[in-house]
């Protein structure tokens, strides 16, 4: 569970990290707990408005470089891949954030039925993973045919 602390802003970890770890040790590890800690990390970043200035500058620089490369025929393909990569990363981050928010919201609604909620979360994750695996194997068999 300690690795989840790395998702919190550095200033937050310096201030609350040690006591937060102390509290985590007292809790039973469940999917709900992991979601709650992820939601807390998202919240801490929104609160501190700290998304990592260097990383934002780097993303902006990559995007600008990507745009300039797109306009140059020599680097068109590299620029296109860079843009697609940055967009894909942004979509994945938004998707994860939406899932964490939805799970925390559902937890607030169903907090009295914790075991049922845990079962629903595990079942949902299992369905998503099996769906991804089957679609992967399906496309593989299609390409063979």
């Amino acid at each position: 569970m300690r690795w989840l602390l790395a998702l919190y802003p550095r200033a937050w970890r310096d201030r609350y990290g040690e006591e937060f770890e102390g509290l985590l040790e007292q809790e039973r590890v469940t999917p709900l707990l992991v979601m709650n800690v992820l939601g807390g990390a998202l919240d801490a970043r929104v609160q501190s408005r700290h998304w990592g200035a260097p990383s934002l500058v780097a993303v902006a620089a990559i995007q600008l470089r990507g745009v300039s490369m797109l306009t140059s025929s020599r680097f068109r393909r590299v620029g296109l891949y860079t843009g697609i990569g940055v967009l894909a990363a942004a979509f994945v981050a938004l998707f994860v954030a939406a899932i964490v928010y939805a799970v925390n919201l559902a937890n607030d609604l169903f907090h009295r039925n914790r075991s049922i909620f845990d079962a629903v979360v595990i079942l949902t994750i299992a369905i998503v993973i099996s769906g991804l695996l089957s679609s992967g194997s399906g496309s593989g068999s299609k390409s063979k045919a």
Binding site: W12, Y16, E19, G22, L23, L33, N36, V37, D43, H111
Partner: protein, 109 residues
């Protein structure tokens, strides 16, 4: 709904708001994180996860409604500030006014 704890005129929190639960817990004396979780579970029947609890603690500390006091780093205790007591009283008065109105309406005429 996020409460603006630094604005005394802001909308009142609901009974299940983590910030309000933390303030009520600390009104009974200084406590560290785990003691707050246990206390809140006892008086409100609501288990606050670590992410939710420390989100509320960070907000309340930033608004100077609570402060940390000397204690072991892994079990650092918090207490209400004078401003925290005032804000808690103000929010409780508003919530009690709503509860009072509901109670009166439910009484048989």
């Amino acid at each position: 709904m996020r409460i603006n704890w630094t604005d005394p005129e802001s909308e009142s929190p609901t009974w299940s708001d983590p910030g309000l639960l933390v303030l009520i817990s600390l009104a009974g004396g200084s406590k560290h994180g785990y003691a707050m979780v246990e206390d809140i579970e006892r008086f409100a029947g609501h288990h606050l996860g670590p992410g939710t609890l420390y989100g509320a603690i960070a907000r309340l500390e930033k608004a100077r409604l609570i402060e940390s006091i000397e204690g072991p780093p892994r079990r650092r205790p918090y207490r209400l500030t004078a401003q925290g007591v005032t804000v808690l009283r103000s929010h409780l008065a508003k919530l009690q006014a709503v509860a009072g109105a509901a109670t009166v309406r439910l009484e048989p005429e």
